[in-house]
């Protein structure tokens, strides 16, 4: 089978091209913090995090933080849970979580929990199980889960469980692999996986594998490399990953590479981007592809980074 073009992907990430008229570049501006997380985590998995100037990254990132304690997607952008998690994750990569006023950030996050246990993404009130996940992962990494009502948070997530064993964005919404990852990760981190019907969900998840070996996110949809993360990490968290054909999935991910210019795309022959590059490499790590650092399926950070946080040096 093909090989992972590590050097090309590292180069791709370090020199993402400056194309003036690229719509891609323009739309990334406000989510640059997410972009930083995807890029840096990929580099760490490939063993190349040291090629980046961590002081510059951190100094830029801290300017994205607001008085409220939350982080915006870039300097001058309003705070939101999504970018707050990315900031915490990036600091974790650099072992610099202590650069934060942890209580301040935790209070910002905890303040976004609603009465029914759900979380809003920001003060404007959008509710989605993505935000439950992000809030719980953030607070767990900061060791401040006690600031929220965990029981209610769990109950809300469970209320989003569907007849197929999967989870949607809100109660009644269609099961979707991305939302399933969010719910399963949140339940895993809060010690609540007993709420998951692992056999039923495991079956739904393994049915995501299509003929090409790739994974889709819902029945009768096309495969996409990002589901290599969401479906795979969910299977691992519920201990059912042996129900898919790992070899075929590895081949699918490797076929999504641009071996000339670096980067990975959503499916073979499509344009690459840093988002799919991250998910492809992270997926390969979960599949134990040789030469990659192991990644934690819940926190989506290298295992050594997570161990450092929870078990000290």
């Amino acid at each position: 089978m093909g090989e992972l073009a590590v050097e090309k992907h590292v180069k791709f990430i370090l020199t993402i091209e400056k194309e003036k008229d690229s719509f891609e570049s323009v739309v990334m501006e406000h989510i640059r913090l997410n972009g930083a997380y995807w890029a840096l985590t990929t580099l760490d998995i490939l063993g190349k995090l040291n090629t980046v100037d961590q002081d510059e990254v951190i100094s830029w990132m801290m300017q994205c933080q607001h008085e409220s304690g939350g982080f915006g997607g870039n300097i001058g952008h309003d705070p939101h849970l999504l970018y707050t998690l990315s900031a915490i994750q990036v600091l974790a990569l650099f072992d610099k979580i202590d650069a934060l006023d942890i209580d301040k950030v935790s209070n910002y996050i905890a303040g976004l929990q609603n009465n029914d246990g759900s979380f809003s993404g920001d003060m404007w009130g959008e509710i989605d199980t993505r935000f439950s996940c992000v809030a719980i992962l953030s607070l767990a990494l900061l060791k401040r889960l006690d600031k929220i009502n965990v029981e209610k948070a769990v109950n809300y997530i469970v209320s989003c469980k569907n007849l197929d064993g999967g989870f949607g964005c809100t109660p009644g919404a269609e099961s979707h692999a991305g939302q399933i990852f969010c719910c399963v990760a949140a339940l895993a981190v809060t010690g609540s996986l007993h709420h998951v019907d692992k056999d039923l969900l495991g079956w739904w998840l393994c049915e995501r594998q299509v003929k090409s070996g790739g994974l889709n996110g819902r029945p009768e949809k096309l495969p996409d490399v990002c589901y290599s993360w969401w479906v795979l990490s969910s299977l691992i968290m519920i201990d059912r990953v042996h129900w898919i054909d790992k070899e075929k999935l590895i081949k699918f991910i490797l076929d999504c590479q641009d071996k000339e210019n670096g980067g990975i795309s959503d499916r073979p022959e499509d344009a690459v981007d840093v988002f799919h590059t991250y998910f492809g490499v992270a997926g390969l790590s979960l599949l134990e592809y040789p030469g990659l650092k192991a990644i934690d399926p819940a926190y989506a950070l290298p295992v050594d980074v997570v161990n450092r946080i929870f078990f000290g040096r």
Binding site: I16, K18, E19, K20, D21, S22, S25, V26, V27, M28, E29, H30, I31, A36, A39, L40, V52, D53, E56, V57, W60, Q63, G72, G73, N74, I75, G76, H77, D78, H80, D122, W124, G125, E126, N162, L163, D164, G168, C169, T170, G172, A173, E174, S175, H176, G202, W204, C206, E207, Q209, R218, P219, E220, K221, H242, W243, I244, D245, K248, V274
Partner: protein, 343 residues
Amino acid sequence: MDVLQKSSERIPLSQRPEYADVKPVPQNDGPNSIVPISYTDEFRETMDYFRAIYVADERSLRALQLTTEAIKLNPGNYTVWQFRRLVLEALNADMNKELDFVDGIVEGNSKNYQIWHHRRWVAENLGTDASTRELEFTKKILSKDAKHYHAWSHRQWVLQALGGWKDELTYCELLLKDDIFNNSAWNQRYFVVTRSPLLGGLGAMRGSEVTCTVNAIMEHPENESPWRYLRGLYRNDTHALVKDPQVASVCLKILTAKNNYVHALSMLLDLLCHGFQPSLEIRNAVYGLSDSGAQGSDLVKVVCSILELVDPMRANYWKWRRNIVPAQAAQCLKDDGLTGLSL
């Protein structure tokens, strides 16, 4: 006047008298940035002016116009959307016109969370009067992409918050007629059957729903969704699933036809593990699918062996089922004995 009609016709902000007193604020990206971004001049200028208005917290008509232009350049920019909401509130703007604005933006941008969240905020402001329009709006999106996750999410919110359930089941049926494989439509069907205040709930609806589902299965036995829907109709009531003759009958028909029978076998497996006693016809239909002519053998083992062969990607799953079903079946018999139920 729409200053963005054509990019060649756009008048730079620096040349527009109504913005003469605004001092644009350039972006601070930091030096040698990781994930550096490049911008067109148009984008740069618009965002520089937006930043000025935003920092000054000016909630005026020209501020609204600026957010319009910034959004058109980058509809994903959530900060601009949020500020727009503040401006709309301050101006006590016409929310129906705001729905018109979103209508204009959504084409080509429909997978954007910010647009949907903004739409919901506007609709919430309008209240139940917005129900019909919002159902029409999502219908239009779904007519181009019938599995659009945001559209379905918005539609579910509209039904629960603003009402309009009357024609929803019919709508699901229409979509399924278009594409019986549409998992989102099946999901919505379950949503309506279980939550609509106008129907009788799952108990009242189950009979007719099973009939529809079985018909869908017969059309395309390889369709994952109706099989799951069928299980969902009998959630928390597996005995009824096992006893429903329609379920056993559809399995038999598909197994006999020897075509696209993976899901049928899987359903049979589920029935067997809940104490189903298969007829001779079903047994023969299964043996007929097996190469090894395994007559008289444990039916569960034969079913799983066939599945391992015809669905090799999930061979480990079927192997696991083969090992676990006998224990489950024994447990079921034990439970039935305890409750006095017999099959």
